[in-house]
Symmetry: none
Subunit: 185 residues, 2 copies
DNA sequence: CTCTATCTATAAAT
DNA sequence: ATTTATAGATAGAG
């Protein structure tokens, strides 16, 4: 929202995104609060940012809301912090995280052209397509960076003229007085 | 919002308010989801309506988010030592695993041509090389699979001769007695 | 932080 | 459910 439409996908972590995150967090909190007032609801909101910091909101008491959830969610979806249960629970969580890591590693290997034998012909074809797309984006990014660099040089006065290789081939005789130059790539 | 300004105070429970409650709940959920995607945050939302019905949202797993919250909040109390130790141990482990996941996700994104702005020119070039290598391996794997498939056909007697397009172009006159054939690709 | 143009959510009506 | 008019949220700029 605002001055430009925001596509909903992961964004680069910039100074600006920090500000936006804060704004949206507050917006969410405000709406949660409105909901709780308008409809006499009990609302709890928990947010961990990507760097692990915690932000929470509750119109009553977050622990009691969680307890209430526990009671409803079938006796023990959320284990007690009793030692045994805690240990068990964390093991489960570790297992899940490990599983996720395995998946990501497999995906990575495939993207790097490894372990291809586990793929079907169709999956292989899809992978092929994806990689072609990546290369395309990478190429255009490279181009973009190069352009930016050249602009920089211009700005610092290190380049007076940009000469194409074609131009060079034809000879510099008729050209302006060069000091420094780079070839167009 | 909408056709009239809504004062934020408890409202009568009417048929209309039910609809509004639903809308606002969904709006809140949507925003929570956007927050989690845009900033890679872990978000959990718990709502109990006034009649006690539960609505929840979580972009990952609500129990694990709650546990994560507890692990942080419980630092204020003094639990028994075993518990502290176990919790600490698994917390460390989880943190490491999460970190690994982040790394893998970043790598994956780069391989898919996303979030390229975080890379230097050199890294971009390396990525480019890697992907070219992948594509090469994928192509050769595709070829290999195709070959294997053709062999299969041979073994089942579905193909008698494999004819190259060059061969075909020259004409079939001087060739052996064909029954079935496929073109080499 | 404040401002504001622009985008989004939603109250009310259909 | 779908539409519409309006209040609200917020991205980017200052």
């Amino acid at each position: 929202m605002g001055r430009g439409k925001t596509e909903i996908k992961r964004i680069e972590n910039t100074r600006n995104s920090q500000v936006s995150f804060c704004k949206r967090r507050n917006g969410l909190k405000k709406k949660a609060n409105e909901l709780s007032i308008l409809y006499e609801a009990e609302v709890a909101l928990i947010v961990f940012c990507s760097r692990g910091r915690l932000f929470e909101y509750s119109n009553s008491n977050i622990s009691s809301t969680i307890e209430r959830l526990k009671r409803i969610s079938d006796n023990s979806v959320t284990p007690d912090l009793d030692k045994v249960f805690a240990t068990f629970y964390y093991q489960e969580e570790s297992a899940k995280l490990r599983q996720q890591i395995q998946m990501l590693e497999t995906s990575n290997r495939h993207l790097l052209g490894d372990s291809l034998s586990t793929l079907t012909a169709k999956e292989l074809e899809e992978l092929n397509k994806k990689l072609k797309g990546s290369l395309k984006r990478i190429r255009s990014k490279k181009h973009e960076m190069l352009q930016a660099e050249i602009e920089q040089f211009y700005r610092r006065g290190r380049i007076t003229y940009l000469i194409s290789s074609e131009h060079l081939r034809r000879g510099l005789q008729s050209s302006p007085p060069y000091k420094n130059f780079v070839l167009e790539i």
